[in-house]
Structure formats: C-alpha cells, structure tokens
Amino acid sequence: MATLTDQALALPPPAELPRPRTLLVGTAYATVAAVTAFVGLFGVYFAERAAALKAGTTWIDTGTISLPPGGMMLTTMVMSTVTMAWGAYAIRRDDRSHAYIALGLTALFGVAVINQTIFNYKSMGLTVVGKDASVQALLIFTITGAHLVMVAAGVIFIGLMAFRALAGQYSSRQTDGVVAASIFWYATVAVYTIIYFGIYVAK
C-alpha cells in the first residue's frame, strides 16, 4: 500500500514556467543601443585625438588627469562584476540571502563609482566653460557624464530586480530579471574599461 510520502513523490513535476525571455531580449537591445552610442562618442574622441597628434600638438597635458581615481574606479567596477555574477549565481540556486547581499554590494559599488567620478571631475584640470574650454574637456566630460548616467541606470535596474527577487518573482525557476540586470551591468563595466585605458591612461 502506497504511503503518503510515496504518493507525494509520485506527483508529476510542476509545469514548466513559460519563459518568453522578453526582459532579457529587451535589455540586450537597450544595452546594444547604449553601447553603440558610446562607440560613436569614442569614435569622435579618437578621431579628434588622432588629428591633434598628427598636427604635432599635445592632446592632454601630463598631470591634467590624475590616474589613481580612475584606477580605483576600474577596480571598483571589476569587483562589481564579481558580485553581479555572484548575485545571478545565487538566484539560480535559490540562495536568496546571498543574492540580496551580492546585488546590494553591486549597487553599492555603483554608487561608489558615481561618487568617484564626481571626485575625479573636481580634480581634473579641464573645463567646458569659458575661455579655458577645450574640445578635450568637452569630449571627456560628455563621455564620462554619459557613463555616469549609465551607471546610475544600472544601479536602479539592479535595485528594481533585487526588490522583485525579494517579492519572490525571481528564483531558480525564473532568473531573467537578475540576468538582464547583469547583462546591462557588464556592458557598463566594459564601457568604463575603454574610458580608463583609452582616455585616462592613453591620454
């Protein structure tokens, strides 16, 4: 005679959740659009830089941009990729407490990058206003400012997905939101990596 436990074990598995992947696909498209905008801006930056160097002039004087703040930002962003991956890993295993910690840390790193960017702005010897305004300053502030917006959007996105996970919307059966947020965040880090090496280091 079958016991209650046997009957419970004999139950069919739950129906597979519909997984239309809309959020993943939509985020992928939005990320492509955002990254392409940066590609266009980088193209303008490097074209102007190449023209200046070809003309024999200096593009950015040594000491105008201090490297340590930029390096700290890069380190922070790289750390955030680890915590973001940790968040996605944890949600896939229904490890909700670690998922919250990881997503919270990623958002915190994002806020730190925003803070560091503002500090960097204040320490840079560049301006876009007045007689000292320059094309270099314009391009750097526009590119890094746009990246600042992207980081802020990423932090909001991660926060929203974390709250949804808190509400039980995301779990091992449905991880789309957290994975979508991670796609956008990795793109944000990739863009900053180009900013760091292409603008801050190469000058």
Binding site: T22, Y29, V39, G40, V44, V128, L138, T142, A146
Partner: protein, 540 residues
Amino acid sequence: MTITESDAAATTTTAPSVTTAVQPRGLYELVATGDHTTLGRLYVLVSVAFLAVVGVLGVLSGAEKLDTTTIDVFGGVTSAWQTFVAFRVILVFCGVLPLFIGLATAVVPLQVGSPAIAFPRAAAAAFWAWLLGAGLLVGGFAADGGLGEAPGLTDGTNPDGVALTLLAMGLLIVALLLASVCIATTVIALRTPGMTLRRVPTFSWSMLVAGSVWFLTLSVLFGRIVLAYVDYTHGRTLFGAEDALYDQVRWAFAQPTVYACAIPALGIVSEIVPVAARVRQRLHDLVLVAIALFGLLSVGSFASASDIADTFVFIAVGFVIVVPVLALFGAWADTLRQGMPASSGPVGAFALALLGAVALFGGVVAGMLNVLKPLELQGTSAVDGHMTIVLLASVTIGVAGAVYWSSKLTGRSVAEGLARLAVLPLVGGALLAGGGDFVAGFFDQPAGLVTTAVRDGADAMNIVGLIGYGVFAIGALVVLVAVARTFVPSGSYAPVDPWDGHTLEWATGSPPPVGNFREALPEVRSERPLLDLAENGGAA
C-alpha cells in the same frame, strides 16, 4: 498541405464581437492605455498629420528656390535655413519613422500571434515621449531655434530655441528607440508556437531588421546630439558652434543612413503584393535575406565622420544596395506572374505600395549615381534630391500599409476611393520633388540652402521640384482626411478579413479584442497560415 493543427472554424471564428475591442473612453484611459492597437493608431494619425506639415514646409522651401539670389518667402536667411532643416528633421523623426513604428506597434503583435506587445507600458511611454518630443521640436523651430545657422550665412538665432531643438531631437530618438525595443522584442520573444523566424511575416521581419539597424545608427546620432548640446550650452568650441550643429546630424539624412528609414517599406510591399495577387509570395526566403541585406547596408554610423565620400566602403555600399532591391523586385514580379490583383482586393494599397517601391528604386539608383566619382554629385543638390525621393517613397509605402491595415487599426477601412486618389499625388510628388533637386545637381546647384545664382537648367528643375512638393502636400492631405475618417465612429466595423489575408492579423477582429485573439492559436506551420487554410478548404 497542412499548416495549422486546428480546423478552419477554429481559426476563422476568432473574430470577436466589437464590444470586446479595446476602445479607451476619456482622456485618462487614452493616456494610461498600454494597448498596442490604440498606441499604433495614435502614432499613425499624428505622423500623417506631420507629413502634411512636411508637405507645406517642402512647398515653402521649393518656393524659396525659385529665385536663388534673393530671400523672398522667408524673413531672412536663417528662417530659410531653419525651414530647410525642419523639413528633414520633421520628415524623419515625426513622419517616416513614427509612421512605421505606429503600424508595427499595432500590427506586429497580431502578425506574430502575441496577445500584447512586449513591455506595453514602455510602448506607451515611448509614444507619449515621442509626442512631447515632436511638440518640443516644433516649438524649437518656431522659437527661431532649429539647428543653428547655415554655414557662412549668419543673421542670428534664439539660443534657447536651438537648445530646445537639440533636447527635442534627443527625446525623439530615445522614444523611437524605446518603441523599437518593444517591437523587436515582440518579434524575438513573443511569437506564437511554430512561428520560427523564417515564418515571421515579412513586415514583422522588416521591423526586426529595421529596429536592429536603428539601434546601431540612431544611438550614434543620439551621442552626437548630446555632444552638440553640451558644447552649445557651454563653450561652443567645435561641435556646438552655431554653424556646425547641422553637420553633427547631416549624415543621418544622407546615404547610406537614410536607407534605414526605408527598411520597413520593403516589408510592407512584400506583405501587400501576394495578398493582392491572391497567391503565395514566391521566394519567401530570398525576400527575408534581401530585406536583411538592405538593412545591413544601411547601417550608416560610419558616415558620421567627415570626408567619407571618397572612401571605398561608402562607394561600395552605394552600388551594392541596389542588389537586394533588385532581388525583391524579382520576387514581387515572380509573385505577380502567378496571379494579378482583383478589383475586390486591396487595389489602393497595392498601387501605393508598388508604385512607391518603384519610386524607392529610383531613389536607390539616384544614390548609386551620387557615389559615382566622375559625376561629381557629392555636395550638390543631387544629394538632397536622393534623400527626398527615398524618404517620400518610403512615406508612400507607409501610407499603403496604413490603408492596408486600417481595419485593424481603427476597425474601419480607409475609403478605397480616397486611397486610389492619393496614389498619383504621393508617388508623382515624391519623384518630382526629389527628381527636381537631383537633376539640378547635374547643373552644379549646391546642396542645402542656395543663395547664389544657378544655371538655367537648375532653375527649371527647381520649378519642377516646387510642383512636386505641392502635389505631394495635396496627396498627404488626402491621406490625412482618409485616415482621420476611420477614427470617426460609424455604424459598422470592417470585416475580420477584408482582403483574404495570409497572416495571423487577419484571423482576429477589426479592431482586435483585448488579448488580440479570443482563443489560443494553433501551432503555425508555415509563413502564411491563413492561405494554407484557404487552400485546404479549411481542412486541417
């Protein structure tokens, strides 16, 4: 051959009663709606109204060219320049792109068998942001702003108006990209079971291609506008200088980028031709590949750099892009060889689509001539003429789509007589308006605002161009009246499938009910499920 799992009744009885259709009551419901059909019809109505405005702007610009040595129509050279720029910017961002996006917002979810568009609230936000951006854009131009001054021709602009114009363009691009995300995601992620990408209807496919291309071009344009805005409102070092603003965006209105506006047009023609001919689209896979290739070649972000006219890529793209268009004409001709349109079919839409496609082909050929180095047409008005032909031909095909799917947009079909009445003004206007400028380029008339004497032949072509703009404006007004009439409540709704359509949008009500389809759709097994059903006499 069987293409659906259900019998005919299962598919053909999905027509809902009109009481189940989505009809927002009151302003709040209209503003708050996430219904894709409502949003689509709003896009179409407003964009057609903007096209009529564009026609008037074209007439004014054309009239100014009658005597190029003086400024007769406008108060000053800057006003003339702003009208020249406004024609382009409004045509693309308030006319062509939103017309296609509106059609896609309404039709694509139906075509792929989805109960809704992906991210309906984002789609609603995109529409209202676009409407706000369009209003701000018009405000920017009206406030003596626009995109600064013509190079070398300065008589002052309103800085706040210029800043507002740049902001409005940025907002428009964000809104259109957001709408494109919703549409492309619908095609990728919300297709009904059995509908592989190869079985996606050609219009939905073209919107997927177009959306992908727009992500790669409009976002670069957005970056340039941000750069111009920051510079304009601060140091005006380079990109934001008064006479350099238009240079930041000019590439978006020239080849190859301008072709990106025409991608959905190819999908619309490919939808209408086989339905009008009452036969299956021949060489369906070739059509999909040709549209994708056309889209690939219209990624023109690289053209944002200056001095690209002599580069190999620019010249090669100008030539190669003729190939997919020829392939499409071959597929359409082969389809029409199997069956000719009947008078009971979508004759008005068919004529608009096919003749619009002929005009578009003329534009592509003009583009090919433009890149021919020995002709030395770069920098002449031939470049402007090419843009005009491509965009106005695309508009004509977009109007064909609005006529064809009008019963799905509003529940009422566009009057066939009005649709047929609009054919010659739109097609003829597109060819004359663009052709005038294009041929004037052979007489060395410069591109942009012309303020110097031109040769006799160019004078004559400017008259032809003015006639073209006037005729097109009349056609746009006819279309506006025809579309607006479908918004007026009347006693009867259009039938579910007035054209014996082939794709899933014709398996639901006019207008569609809440959730689009009353019952779960059977598995799709070909790209033309309703045609398969008809060919099998409704048998499974």
